[in-house]
Amino acid sequence: MTIKNTTSGYGWAAIALHWLMALGIFFLFGLGLYMVELTYYDPWYRGSLDLHKSIGMVLLLVWFARLVWRWMNTSPAPVGTPVEQKAAHWVHVILYLMMIALFVTGYLISTADGRAISVFGLIDVPAIGYAFENQEDIAGTIHWGLAWTLIGLVGLHAAAAVKHQFIDKDNTLARMVRPQDES
């Protein structure tokens, strides 16, 4: 059982965190598009938003855990040409930044009136005691734009992984599926 990363691949912890976030992000994207179309009398009109906010806050926690884990650990050796390595590095940086920006803008929509965000009714994430003019609208517009851009980048990121796995045959995707034997 390889929990930690090695130079040849990712450990179970990093793999679990990666796919947990991937699942969460796809779910939130779909739920987000769906919930804003629900009518007022839909039984899920309120619940869908509560669920979106709750999962969002949990993913924020996972995001922090993932970054901390990444810094505590060795990273597998990068593959590909120097240009590809650089591109991959920056796409990763942008993905992380966009995720945190999505958490922040989502938080700003819901807390614009000073209300806390209830996470599955278990804990409340309080509002910061400051709001700017039309906060819910501005944050909402940015949140929407970021969500679509993030999904676009995720597509690019996934396409690159598939290309590396099956065309370059350098095991990029396999490394994120299960830990690789040290070579």
Partner: protein
Amino acid sequence: MKKLLASAALALATVFSVQANAADYQIDVDGAHAFVQFKIKHLGYSWLLGRFNTFDGQFSYDAAAPEKSSIEVVIETASIDSNHAERDKHLKGEDFLNVKKFPKAVFKSTKFDVKDDNNAVVTGTFMLHGVKKEISFPVQKIGEGKDPWGGYRVGFEGKTTLKLADYGITYNLGPASTHVEVHLYVEGIRK
């Protein structure tokens, strides 16, 4: 040319001073002694209240000739505030006010039917959500007189009920919530 400008300025000054004599009032939005509030049934079980925080307006009023009164109020629709950011975001969006496309709601009076010293029915055009309609509703004078800071004030209130669908707002809030009550409370400072 100089002479022409001078006489034009004089003419303008005369016009404005005449208007001021006819008792023009600026609605005291700076001191927040005016409110545009609304009230709509929630599910038919209770009331939801909210207000528009940003608006401006003027009116003319003379106790000696109240039938000559007039009023104009311009409301910034994006200033809607129902004390719930997520709901306000929805209300400002395309399902309701569509504030990007229709940033202003405007009421402009055309007629005052005086009932007695303190009561009248005002008629005018109300533009909301890009739709203009003629509406009439009763208004009541609350009081008037000198304020303690050297000015002169008069205050009114009015209430009307609007059918949302009349203004092209058709989002289904349920059968009990098709109409919204709008309450206008204004205090004017004489110019």
